[in-house]
């Protein structure tokens, strides 16, 4: 069984086509999850062996010592997640956020990104009124003018951009040293027992990503692709296009490089950050056991 | 004119082929103590329910003091066959309940309740609850509740059915005193022929299938009691005994002819 979320990326195409099944020669149960913490719970229960989630839930899970390995990066989040301030909220620079209401879904990558940007701006997070809202409620609250800013993803992002302006986006935050990713994890015992399955899984994914990276315009122009993604995620076709454009997808070469020191560092940073926020009790001494590029490498 | 009257009333319960009452007329005047006597299921309770306003006739009318009766009202107090006391109130509060509804002050209504409880020979039951009483005690609380109210009519469904002979006679005398002093019209159902004879100014004999009034008597013994004769004396008067035996024979005769009573 494999857990996926409704992130928008090219690997949804082989998923829709049944290419994963063909390549691995086994039956795959695809299950959709709402949030990273639920994926973690499912993976922990043993019912799910491979799962898709954001990097900050991963940091939380790894800090709790869950036996999982990150073997593939779906994308690096770019402009698909952004901090938008509402027109009329009188926020023009980061310092204006003080005392304002900023909504994020807690424990999501945007939560991390928001806090990271506040740190970058040297704004005291305790002086900003950070509220926990799910994307659908963010849209509703935004409409009423109950919140002044929000850090979310599409389609809520698209809706609120219409009456606001982007203060920063994850592409920016990434440059400030706090990148966020959508990644795939695998249970360690499963990876040890069936490495070839994980290899094949990585290969199919990488091929799909390569197909997109090679010519994004053509990919998007192909209505068939968009429809498949739309059907799997429930997103409107227009939102699919935005989603694809808003993220940076990494080729095999990039991934091999990333899934070593840099990514371990990113996870460690995230975890340390969560700890400083009092969200995590203790840190692991070393996060490298939770990251491996061997499967991406083997996917040749 | 100021009487409680049923005029050609017919009542048919849902799903029954034969009416429970058919074309019954009865008039309870200001000075009347009307007693209904008749076999089980002949419609006595149904007639009382009509007077009380609990049941509406299918045809015919019920009126009180010239006004049609459309529902229950404080001027017509009822003593139920099965007490219908309020279990969350103690006996005293149950008896005072009618006065409380009328807005009588607490001290006054409780004093009145205690007085009436003495009358029904339950002077010390005031603090109890109805489920702590015996059958006959409950019945007397029900009577006390009706007596404590200032109704103009008393409708009583076998009020003394669960009482021993002595208490019963006490209650009969009490009832006659109330009738005489307060001038209330009274409609009473009983199965006790002696009681019916002793109390009634007007005695109606009813018969089932369909329920109707077959005979009306005016025994007149209650007037003698009112005039000062003692209850014992009246009940052992040979005239009384003769009438009792005669009535008994009538009732038995009526019943010996096989008549179906149930539809």
């Amino acid at each position: 069984t494999i857990a996926y979320q409704t992130g928008i990326d090219p690997t949804k195409i082989p998923q829709a086509d049944g290419a994963y099944e063909k390549a691995t020669g086994s039956q795959i149960n695809w299950r959709k999850f709402e949030s990273g913490s639920e994926v973690i719970a499912a993976v922990a229960s043993g019912d799910v062996v491979i799962g898709n989630l954001g990097s900050s839930p991963l940091a939380a899970a790894a800090s709790r010592g869950l036996p999982i390995v990150t073997f593939l990066v779906a994308d690096e989040i770019g402009d698909a997640e952004a901090l938008v301030v509402r027109n009329g909220s009188k926020i023009s620079k980061p310092q204006d956020l003080i005392g304002k209401k900023v909504a994020v879904p807690y424990v999501s990558t945007t939560h991390y990104s928001l806090l990271a940007s506040l740190k970058h701006w040297k704004v005291d997070p305790t002086k900003v009124n950070v509220l926990n809202l799910r994307p659908s409620e963010i849209t509703a609250a935004w409409q009423r003018g109950d919140i002044d800013a929000a850090y979310v993803w599409d389609p809520a992002l698209g809706k609120i951009k219409a009456s606001g302006k982007v203060l920063t986006s994850s592409a920016q935050v990434s440059k400030w040293g706090a990148p966020t990713y959508d990644i795939w994890i695998v249970r360690k015992d499963f990876a040890d027992a069936h490495p070839e399955f994980v290899n094949k899984f990585a290969k199919v994914s990488l091929d799909a990503i390569a197909g997109y990276v090679a010519n994004p315009k053509a990919f998007i122009a192909n209505k068939d692709n968009i429809d498949k993604i739309s059907r799997l995620t429930g997103a409107a076709p227009a939102d699919v296009v935005l989603g694809l454009q808003g993220n940076r997808f990494l080729t095999q070469k990039d991934q091999i490089a990333l899934l070593q020191k840099p990514f371990v560092q990113a996870v460690a940073n995230t975890a340390a950050f969560l700890k400083s926020q009092g969200k995590v009790d203790s840190l692991q001494a070393d996060y490298s056991p939770y990251v491996s590029n061997q499967f991406v490498k083997a996917a040749k | 004119m100021s009487s409680l009257s049923a005029n050609q009333v017919t009542v048919r319960y849902p799903g029954q082929t034969r009416p429970a009452l058919a074309g019954v007329s009865l008039d309870i005047g200001p000075d009347d103590l009307t007693v209904a006597l008749g076999p089980s299921g002949c419609g006595k309770t149904t007639l009382l329910n009509l007077f009380a306003g609990f049941v509406k006739p299918d045809s015919g009318t019920i009126s009180f003091a010239g006004q049609p009766v459309t529902g229950p009202g404080a001027e017509r107090a009822v003593v139920f066959q099965h007490d219908a006391l309020l279990p969350w109130l103690n006996v005293r509060d149950n008896v005072a309940f009618g006065l409380r509804l009328q807005g009588v002050a607490k001290a006054e209504r409780l004093a009145r309740a205690d007085e009436v409880l003495r009358l029904v020979d339950l002077p010390e039951a005031g603090g109890r609850y109805s489920w702590q009483l015996s059958g006959g005690q409950r019945q007397r609380v029900g009577i006390a509740r009706a007596l404590a109210s200032h109704s103009q009519v008393l409708l009583m469904d076998e009020p003394f059915g669960a009482l021993d002979a002595f208490t019963r006679e006490q209650m009969q005398e009490l009832l006659l005193k109330v009738w005489q002093q307060a001038r209330r019209r009274i409609f009473l159902i009983t199965h006790d022929i002696e009681e019916a004879l002793f109390l009634a100014t007007e005695l109606v004999l009813m018969s089932p299938g369909p329920g109707r009034i077959v005979e009306t008597l005016r025994p007149g013994f209650s007037q003698r009691y009112r005039a000062g004769e003692s209850a014992r004396a009246i009940k052992s008067d040979p005239a009384f005994i003769a009438l009792r035996e005669q009535l008994l024979a009538t009732l038995f005769d009526h019943r010996r002819k096989p008549e179906e009573e149930l539809a």
Binding site: E38, D47, T139, P155, G234, A235 | P14, G15, N49, K56
Partner: protein, 292 residues
């Protein structure tokens, strides 16, 4: 709530109806004296639902509420057609409905099969009551969303977890109502049956259960309501089909018309089940509400 009870007005005023029923219908009529009253009530209910619809229509067309949050009835109707033919999230409306219904029915069956015996036990034995009461009172108030992760960890992400969650929501009201109903059985009727030689189990089957039946059915009805309302929570767990799943996925992508459609379908189906249960209640306990 309960179409069975004669209304206060009926009880206050009169017992004798106007019409004279046919002799053949006599017996049946004796059991349902208020057919007319019910007919009139159905009519009133129609009015109030129409009123709700009109309010919705008015609100959505007035522009006070943007269509993103309250799509118009027409839009939802149109969506009904597309979702039921082309589907949403890889399944048609009917497939979603079937998946959810199956879960609800399984959970309900489980709750009834376990809850009634437990409730009877608690109503009958103070020991059982002493032991079980704190357990039920302890789990009952806990929000399903709070123990969702625990359920997933312990029972996985299969159907079991989803059904279990709904089951737990239905179970408590069934147990509570059953034990309440059982504990209120008339003492005199119990005694009467005992003096006729009823064994403990006969007492249960022939006196306690028939007398508690209306209350048990009320408990099932309340339980079914809470069951439906945990549907979304249950289908947060790795569902691929189901009305709750559909609503939740649609909400994530702000496809509000599908959300409202899902809500409406849940309301309609739950209402239909509720009416069915009431009918059952009326068939099984026609005597209910007839006593003084």
């Amino acid at each position: 709530m309960n179409t069975l009870e004669t209304s206060l007005e009926q009880r206050l005023v009169a017992a004798a109806p106007k019409g004279v029923p046919d002799e053949i219908e006599a017996e049946a009529a004796a059991l349902s004296p208020s057919v007319w009253a019910q007919y009139r009530r159905g009519w009133l209910s129609g009015i109030s639902l129409l009123g709700l619809l009109a309010l919705w229509w008015g609100l959505s067309h007035s522009g006070i509420v943007p269509p993103l949050f309250l799509p118009s009835p027409e839009a939802v109707l149109a969506k009904l057609i597309t979702v039921s033919t082309q589907g949403f999230m890889d399944a048609t409306l009917w497939q979603h409905l079937a998946a959810s219904l199956q879960r609800i029915v399984l959970a309900l069956a489980g709750a009834v099969l376990l809850g009634i015996p437990l409730g009877v036990l608690m109503g009958v034995s103070p020991v059982a009551r002493g032991l079980l009461d704190p357990l039920i009172e302890a789990y009952r108030p806990v929000p399903p969303l709070a123990y969702l992760p625990l359920i997933v960890i312990w029972f996985g992400i299969g159907e079991l977890s989803k059904v279990l969650l709904i089951f737990l929501a239905v179970l408590a009201p069934v147990i509570i109502a059953t034990s309440h109903g059982v504990a209120q059985v008339s003492r005199n009727r119990l005694r009467a049956a005992q003096t006729l030689g009823a064994s403990r189990s006969q007492l249960l089957w022939f006196v306690i259960l028939p007398e508690a039946l209306p209350e048990i059915l009320t408990g099932i009805r309340i339980g079914l309501g809470t069951g439906w309302s945990t549907l979304v929570a249950a289908e947060l767990v790795a569902a691929t089909r189901g009305l709750g799943f559909m609503v939740q996925s649609a909400a994530q992508f702000l496809v509000t018309d599908v959300v409202i459609l899902g809500i409406a379908v849940i309301a309609v189906i739950a209402f239909a089940l509720e009416l069915g249960l009431r009918l059952l209640q009326r068939r099984l306990a026609p005597w209910h509400g007839q006593l003084d």
